[in-house]
Amino acid sequence: MSTAMNFGSKAFKPRAPDKGSFPLDHLGECKGFKEKFMKCLRDNNHDNSLCRLQSKDYLECRMDNQLMAKEPMEKLGFGDLVDAPPGQADKDAEP
Protein backbone atom coordinates (compact mmCIF):
# COMPACT_ATOMS: atom_id res chain seq x y z
CA MET A 1 0.00 0.00 0.00
CA SER A 2 1.20 3.50 -0.60
CA THR A 3 1.51 5.17 2.78
CA ALA A 4 2.36 8.76 3.49
CA MET A 5 5.87 7.75 4.58
CA ASN A 6 6.61 6.07 1.31
CA PHE A 7 7.35 9.31 -0.50
CA GLY A 8 9.41 9.51 -3.61
CA SER A 9 9.43 7.88 -6.99
CA LYS A 10 7.58 4.84 -5.70
CA ALA A 11 4.30 6.61 -5.02
CA PHE A 12 1.33 4.99 -6.73
CA LYS A 13 -1.20 7.11 -8.51
CA PRO A 14 -4.53 5.43 -9.22
CA ARG A 15 -6.04 6.14 -12.58
CA ALA A 16 -9.68 6.25 -13.50
CA PRO A 17 -10.92 3.39 -15.68
CA ASP A 18 -11.10 4.04 -19.40
CA LYS A 19 -14.79 3.46 -19.79
CA GLY A 20 -15.89 4.44 -16.35
CA SER A 21 -17.59 2.33 -13.78
CA PHE A 22 -19.76 -0.73 -14.18
CA PRO A 23 -23.28 -0.21 -12.88
CA LEU A 24 -24.10 -2.73 -10.22
CA ASP A 25 -26.01 -5.83 -11.24
CA HIS A 26 -28.56 -5.57 -8.47
CA LEU A 27 -30.99 -8.02 -10.07
CA GLY A 28 -28.36 -10.62 -10.82
CA GLU A 29 -29.31 -10.79 -14.48
CA CYS A 30 -25.88 -11.86 -15.59
CA LYS A 31 -25.15 -14.09 -12.67
CA GLY A 32 -25.44 -17.22 -14.81
CA PHE A 33 -22.74 -16.05 -17.19
CA LYS A 34 -20.58 -15.10 -14.28
CA GLU A 35 -20.94 -18.56 -12.79
CA LYS A 36 -19.97 -20.10 -16.12
CA PHE A 37 -16.89 -17.94 -16.24
CA MET A 38 -15.90 -18.78 -12.68
CA LYS A 39 -16.36 -22.46 -13.33
CA CYS A 40 -14.22 -22.22 -16.44
CA LEU A 41 -11.51 -20.51 -14.42
CA ARG A 42 -11.58 -23.16 -11.74
CA ASP A 43 -11.41 -25.94 -14.31
CA ASN A 44 -8.55 -24.40 -16.21
CA ASN A 45 -6.36 -23.55 -13.27
CA HIS A 46 -7.25 -19.86 -13.35
CA ASP A 47 -5.94 -19.34 -16.86
CA ASN A 48 -7.66 -16.35 -18.40
CA SER A 49 -6.66 -17.14 -21.98
CA LEU A 50 -8.83 -20.24 -22.01
CA CYS A 51 -11.89 -18.54 -20.61
CA ARG A 52 -12.12 -15.54 -22.86
CA LEU A 53 -15.23 -16.81 -24.56
CA GLN A 54 -17.06 -16.91 -21.24
CA SER A 55 -15.90 -13.41 -20.34
CA LYS A 56 -17.08 -12.20 -23.73
CA ASP A 57 -20.48 -13.79 -23.09
CA TYR A 58 -20.68 -12.09 -19.71
CA LEU A 59 -19.95 -8.69 -21.19
CA GLU A 60 -22.51 -9.25 -23.92
CA CYS A 61 -25.08 -10.10 -21.26
CA ARG A 62 -24.27 -6.85 -19.50
CA MET A 63 -24.71 -4.92 -22.70
CA ASP A 64 -28.05 -6.60 -23.39
CA ASN A 65 -29.35 -5.74 -19.94
CA GLN A 66 -28.35 -2.08 -19.95
CA LEU A 67 -25.56 -2.71 -17.52
CA MET A 68 -22.83 -1.68 -19.88
CA ALA A 69 -22.51 0.67 -22.82
CA LYS A 70 -22.88 -1.18 -26.07
CA GLU A 71 -19.65 -1.50 -27.95
CA PRO A 72 -18.30 -3.75 -30.65
CA MET A 73 -16.36 -6.62 -29.20
CA GLU A 74 -13.24 -5.70 -31.11
CA LYS A 75 -12.93 -2.56 -29.05
CA LEU A 76 -12.82 -4.69 -25.93
CA GLY A 77 -10.06 -6.89 -27.18
CA PHE A 78 -12.21 -9.79 -28.32
CA GLY A 79 -11.61 -9.27 -32.01
CA ASP A 80 -10.43 -12.84 -32.48
CA LEU A 81 -13.56 -14.29 -30.89
CA VAL A 82 -16.08 -12.41 -32.96
CA ASP A 83 -18.14 -14.78 -35.12
CA ALA A 84 -18.46 -12.41 -38.09
CA PRO A 85 -16.21 -13.08 -41.14
CA PRO A 86 -12.95 -11.09 -41.20
CA GLY A 87 -14.17 -8.63 -43.87
CA GLN A 88 -17.21 -7.61 -41.86
CA ALA A 89 -15.23 -7.51 -38.64
CA ASP A 90 -12.88 -4.96 -40.18
CA LYS A 91 -15.84 -2.85 -41.19
CA ASP A 92 -17.17 -3.04 -37.63
CA ALA A 93 -13.79 -2.07 -36.24
CA GLU A 94 -13.71 1.14 -38.19
CA PRO A 95 -14.99 4.08 -36.10
Binding site: M1, S2, S9, K10, A11, F12, K13, P14, R15, A16, P17, D18, K19, G20, S21, F22, L24, D25, H26, G28, C30, K31, K34, F37, M38, L41, N45, H46, D47, N48, S49, R52, S55, Y58, L59, M68, E74, K75, L76, G77, F78, G79, A93
Partner: protein, 252 residues
Protein backbone atom coordinates in the same frame (compact mmCIF):
# COMPACT_ATOMS: atom_id res chain seq x y z
CA UNK B 1 72.29 51.72 11.35
CA UNK B 2 73.93 54.10 13.78
CA UNK B 3 76.35 51.38 14.85
CA UNK B 4 78.71 51.75 11.85
CA UNK B 5 78.71 55.48 12.53
CA UNK B 6 79.98 54.81 16.07
CA UNK B 7 82.59 52.34 14.88
CA UNK B 8 83.97 54.35 12.00
CA UNK B 9 85.27 57.37 14.02
CA UNK B 10 87.34 54.99 16.25
CA UNK B 11 88.84 53.42 13.18
CA UNK B 12 89.43 56.70 11.58
CA UNK B 13 91.67 58.47 14.15
CA UNK B 14 94.60 56.12 15.14
CA UNK B 15 95.77 54.78 11.79
CA UNK B 16 95.16 57.71 9.56
CA UNK B 17 97.41 56.89 6.61
CA UNK B 18 96.42 53.25 6.29
CA UNK B 19 92.78 53.71 6.75
CA UNK B 20 92.43 56.91 4.85
CA UNK B 21 90.40 55.27 2.19
CA UNK B 22 88.32 53.61 4.82
CA UNK B 23 87.81 56.93 6.60
CA UNK B 24 86.82 58.51 3.39
CA UNK B 25 84.52 55.69 2.84
CA UNK B 26 83.19 56.11 6.35
CA UNK B 27 82.65 59.79 5.79
CA UNK B 28 80.88 59.21 2.54
CA UNK B 29 78.87 56.53 4.24
CA UNK B 30 77.98 58.91 7.06
CA UNK B 31 76.96 61.62 4.67
CA UNK B 32 75.00 59.14 2.76
CA UNK B 33 73.21 57.99 5.89
CA UNK B 34 72.51 61.58 6.90
CA UNK B 35 71.12 62.23 3.50
CA UNK B 36 69.15 59.05 3.78
CA UNK B 37 67.80 60.09 7.16
CA UNK B 38 66.88 63.45 5.77
CA UNK B 39 65.30 61.73 2.92
CA UNK B 40 63.36 59.50 5.22
CA UNK B 41 61.71 62.46 6.94
CA UNK B 42 60.24 63.97 3.85
CA UNK B 43 59.73 60.44 2.65
CA UNK B 44 57.54 59.83 5.67
CA UNK B 45 55.50 62.80 4.65
CA UNK B 46 55.63 61.67 1.11
CA UNK B 47 54.73 58.13 1.96
CA UNK B 48 51.46 59.27 3.53
CA UNK B 49 50.54 60.52 0.13
CA UNK B 50 51.54 57.28 -1.60
CA UNK B 51 50.07 55.18 1.14
CA UNK B 52 46.81 57.05 0.94
CA UNK B 53 46.91 56.67 -2.78
CA UNK B 54 47.56 52.99 -2.24
CA UNK B 55 44.78 52.83 0.31
CA UNK B 56 42.44 54.52 -2.08
CA UNK B 57 43.17 52.07 -4.86
CA UNK B 58 42.95 49.21 -2.38
CA UNK B 59 39.56 50.43 -1.24
CA UNK B 60 38.49 50.81 -4.80
CA UNK B 61 39.72 47.31 -5.46
CA UNK B 62 37.74 45.99 -2.56
CA UNK B 63 34.68 47.90 -3.69
CA UNK B 64 34.82 46.52 -7.20
CA UNK B 65 35.50 43.04 -5.88
CA UNK B 66 32.57 43.31 -3.50
CA UNK B 67 30.38 44.48 -6.31
CA UNK B 68 31.27 41.55 -8.53
CA UNK B 69 30.79 39.10 -5.69
CA UNK B 70 27.43 40.62 -4.86
CA UNK B 71 26.41 40.45 -8.50
CA UNK B 72 27.34 36.79 -8.68
CA UNK B 73 25.47 36.00 -5.49
CA UNK B 74 22.40 37.87 -6.65
CA UNK B 75 22.51 36.09 -10.01
CA UNK B 76 22.76 32.75 -8.26
CA UNK B 77 19.78 33.62 -6.07
CA UNK B 78 17.67 34.63 -9.03
CA UNK B 79 18.76 31.49 -10.83
CA UNK B 80 17.67 29.32 -7.92
CA UNK B 81 14.25 30.98 -7.76
CA UNK B 82 13.81 30.53 -11.51
CA UNK B 83 14.84 26.89 -11.26
CA UNK B 84 12.33 26.23 -8.52
CA UNK B 85 9.56 27.65 -10.71
CA UNK B 86 10.71 25.74 -13.75
CA UNK B 87 11.07 22.48 -11.87
CA UNK B 88 7.34 21.78 -11.89
CA UNK B 89 6.89 21.34 -15.66
CA UNK B 90 10.36 19.85 -15.97
CA UNK B 91 9.54 17.20 -13.40
CA UNK B 92 6.30 16.43 -15.11
CA UNK B 93 8.12 15.93 -18.41
CA UNK B 94 10.66 13.71 -16.73
CA UNK B 95 7.92 11.64 -15.09
CA UNK B 96 6.19 11.13 -18.41
CA UNK B 97 9.40 10.05 -20.03
CA UNK B 98 10.46 7.75 -17.23
CA UNK B 99 7.00 6.63 -16.24
CA UNK B 100 7.55 7.10 -12.54
CA UNK B 101 4.75 7.01 -10.02
CA UNK B 102 2.26 5.38 -12.34
CA UNK B 103 1.70 8.45 -14.46
CA UNK B 104 0.21 7.94 -17.87
CA UNK B 105 2.53 6.55 -20.47
CA UNK B 106 2.36 8.29 -23.83
CA UNK B 107 0.28 6.49 -26.39
CA UNK B 108 -2.26 5.10 -23.95
CA UNK B 109 -5.58 5.28 -25.75
CA UNK B 110 -8.59 3.11 -26.38
CA UNK B 111 -7.44 2.14 -29.87
CA UNK B 112 -4.67 0.20 -28.26
CA UNK B 113 -7.19 -2.36 -26.99
CA UNK B 114 -8.28 -3.06 -30.51
CA UNK B 115 -4.89 -3.39 -32.08
CA UNK B 116 -2.77 -4.90 -29.35
CA UNK B 117 -1.38 -8.35 -29.79
CA UNK B 118 -1.13 -10.63 -26.80
CA UNK B 119 2.38 -11.58 -25.78
CA UNK B 120 1.73 -15.23 -25.20
CA UNK B 121 5.19 -16.11 -23.90
CA UNK B 122 4.95 -13.91 -20.85
CA UNK B 123 2.47 -15.30 -18.36
CA UNK B 124 1.74 -13.11 -15.38
CA UNK B 125 -0.10 -13.97 -12.24
CA UNK B 126 -2.53 -11.38 -10.99
CA UNK B 127 -3.58 -11.85 -7.39
CA UNK B 128 -6.52 -10.08 -5.88
CA UNK B 129 -6.96 -8.48 -2.54
CA UNK B 130 -10.00 -6.88 -0.99
CA UNK B 131 -10.12 -4.55 1.95
CA UNK B 132 -12.68 -2.45 3.68
CA UNK B 133 -12.29 0.53 5.90
CA UNK B 134 -12.73 -0.18 9.57
CA UNK B 135 -16.12 1.52 9.76
CA UNK B 136 -17.37 -0.05 6.54
CA UNK B 137 -19.64 -2.95 7.26
CA UNK B 138 -19.75 -4.61 3.88
CA UNK B 139 -18.36 -8.07 3.35
CA UNK B 140 -16.05 -7.54 0.44
CA UNK B 141 -13.89 -10.25 -1.03
CA UNK B 142 -12.51 -11.40 -4.40
CA UNK B 143 -14.11 -14.35 -6.10
CA UNK B 144 -10.87 -15.74 -7.43
CA UNK B 145 -7.58 -15.68 -5.60
CA UNK B 146 -5.47 -15.35 -8.72
CA UNK B 147 -5.71 -15.33 -12.47
CA UNK B 148 -3.05 -15.96 -15.11
CA UNK B 149 -2.98 -13.40 -17.88
CA UNK B 150 -0.63 -12.37 -20.64
CA UNK B 151 0.11 -8.77 -21.61
CA UNK B 152 -2.08 -7.54 -24.42
CA UNK B 153 -5.04 -9.69 -23.51
CA UNK B 154 -8.16 -8.35 -21.83
CA UNK B 155 -9.20 -10.16 -18.68
CA UNK B 156 -12.21 -10.23 -16.42
CA UNK B 157 -12.19 -10.70 -12.65
CA UNK B 158 -14.90 -10.59 -10.04
CA UNK B 159 -15.31 -9.32 -6.54
CA UNK B 160 -18.31 -9.90 -4.35
CA UNK B 161 -19.79 -7.46 -1.88
CA UNK B 162 -22.55 -8.09 0.61
CA UNK B 163 -24.34 -5.66 2.84
CA UNK B 164 -25.25 -7.61 5.97
CA UNK B 165 -26.86 -4.68 7.78
CA UNK B 166 -30.45 -3.51 7.79
CA UNK B 167 -29.83 -0.16 6.19
CA UNK B 168 -28.52 0.76 2.74
CA UNK B 169 -24.87 1.64 2.66
CA UNK B 170 -23.14 3.57 -0.06
CA UNK B 171 -19.56 2.60 -0.69
CA UNK B 172 -16.83 4.05 -2.80
CA UNK B 173 -13.60 2.33 -3.58
CA UNK B 174 -10.10 2.92 -4.72
CA UNK B 175 -7.45 0.53 -5.87
CA UNK B 176 -3.78 -0.09 -5.66
CA UNK B 177 -1.36 -2.09 -7.78
CA UNK B 178 1.82 -3.65 -6.42
CA UNK B 179 4.62 -3.47 -7.62
CA UNK B 180 4.24 0.26 -8.15
CA UNK B 181 6.19 0.34 -11.39
CA UNK B 182 3.86 -2.22 -12.91
CA UNK B 183 0.94 0.06 -12.09
CA UNK B 184 1.57 2.14 -15.18
CA UNK B 185 1.02 -0.90 -17.38
CA UNK B 186 -2.11 -1.99 -15.58
CA UNK B 187 -5.03 -0.47 -17.48
CA UNK B 188 -8.59 -0.85 -16.38
CA UNK B 189 -11.17 -0.68 -19.10
CA UNK B 190 -14.05 -0.75 -16.68
CA UNK B 191 -14.41 -1.44 -13.01
CA UNK B 192 -16.42 -0.38 -10.01
CA UNK B 193 -14.04 2.08 -8.42
CA UNK B 194 -14.25 5.81 -7.82
CA UNK B 195 -18.01 5.91 -8.09
CA UNK B 196 -20.58 5.51 -5.40
CA UNK B 197 -22.09 2.07 -5.25
CA UNK B 198 -25.21 1.60 -3.23
CA UNK B 199 -26.11 -1.70 -1.64
CA UNK B 200 -29.53 -2.25 -0.17
CA UNK B 201 -29.96 -4.17 3.07
CA UNK B 202 -28.89 -7.79 2.80
CA UNK B 203 -28.02 -7.41 -0.83
CA UNK B 204 -25.13 -9.21 -2.47
CA UNK B 205 -23.70 -8.23 -5.85
CA UNK B 206 -20.90 -9.29 -8.17
CA UNK B 207 -18.49 -6.55 -9.08
CA UNK B 208 -16.45 -7.12 -12.20
CA UNK B 209 -13.14 -5.62 -13.15
CA UNK B 210 -12.27 -5.60 -16.83
CA UNK B 211 -8.60 -4.89 -17.37
CA UNK B 212 -5.57 -5.61 -19.48
CA UNK B 213 -1.84 -5.30 -19.13
CA UNK B 214 -0.12 -3.18 -21.72
CA UNK B 215 1.93 -5.31 -24.16
CA UNK B 216 4.84 -2.91 -23.65
CA UNK B 217 5.21 -4.49 -20.25
CA UNK B 218 7.24 -7.24 -21.90
CA UNK B 219 9.66 -4.73 -23.42
CA UNK B 220 10.41 -2.88 -20.23
CA UNK B 221 13.69 -4.10 -18.72
CA UNK B 222 12.58 -3.02 -15.26
CA UNK B 223 9.70 -5.45 -15.45
CA UNK B 224 11.84 -8.40 -16.48
CA UNK B 225 11.72 -9.91 -13.01
CA UNK B 226 8.10 -9.10 -12.28
CA UNK B 227 5.85 -12.11 -12.59
CA UNK B 228 3.17 -11.36 -10.00
CA UNK B 229 0.99 -8.31 -9.86
CA UNK B 230 -1.37 -7.71 -6.99
CA UNK B 231 -4.53 -5.72 -7.44
CA UNK B 232 -5.99 -4.48 -4.22
CA UNK B 233 -9.32 -2.74 -3.75
CA UNK B 234 -10.40 -0.88 -0.66
CA UNK B 235 -13.95 0.15 0.05
CA UNK B 236 -14.86 3.15 2.12
CA UNK B 237 -18.22 4.35 3.25
CA UNK B 238 -19.40 7.37 1.33
CA UNK B 239 -21.21 10.05 3.26
CA UNK B 240 -24.37 11.49 1.76
CA UNK B 241 -23.70 14.60 -0.26
CA UNK B 242 -19.97 14.27 -0.11
CA UNK B 243 -18.20 14.63 -3.43
CA UNK B 244 -14.85 13.01 -3.77
CA UNK B 245 -12.36 14.36 -6.31
CA UNK B 246 -11.98 11.56 -8.79
CA UNK B 247 -8.64 11.12 -10.55
CA UNK B 248 -8.83 11.86 -14.22
CA UNK B 249 -12.51 12.79 -14.18
CA UNK B 250 -13.48 16.32 -15.11
CA UNK B 251 -16.71 17.76 -13.86
CA UNK B 252 -18.42 19.63 -16.67
Amino acid sequence: MLLPLLLRPSLCSPHASAFLSRCDAARTLRSQTELFLRRTLPLRFQSRGTKSRGRKTREQDWKTRNKTVLTYVAAAGVGMIGLSYASVPLYRLYCQAAGLGGTAVAGHDTDLVETMKPVKERVLKVTFNADTHASMQWNFRPQQSEIFVVPGETALAFYRAKNPTDKPIIGISTYNVVPFEAGQYFNKIQCFCFEEQRLNPHEEVDMPVFFYIDPEFDDDPRMARVSTITLSYTFFEAKEGEKLPLPGYSYN
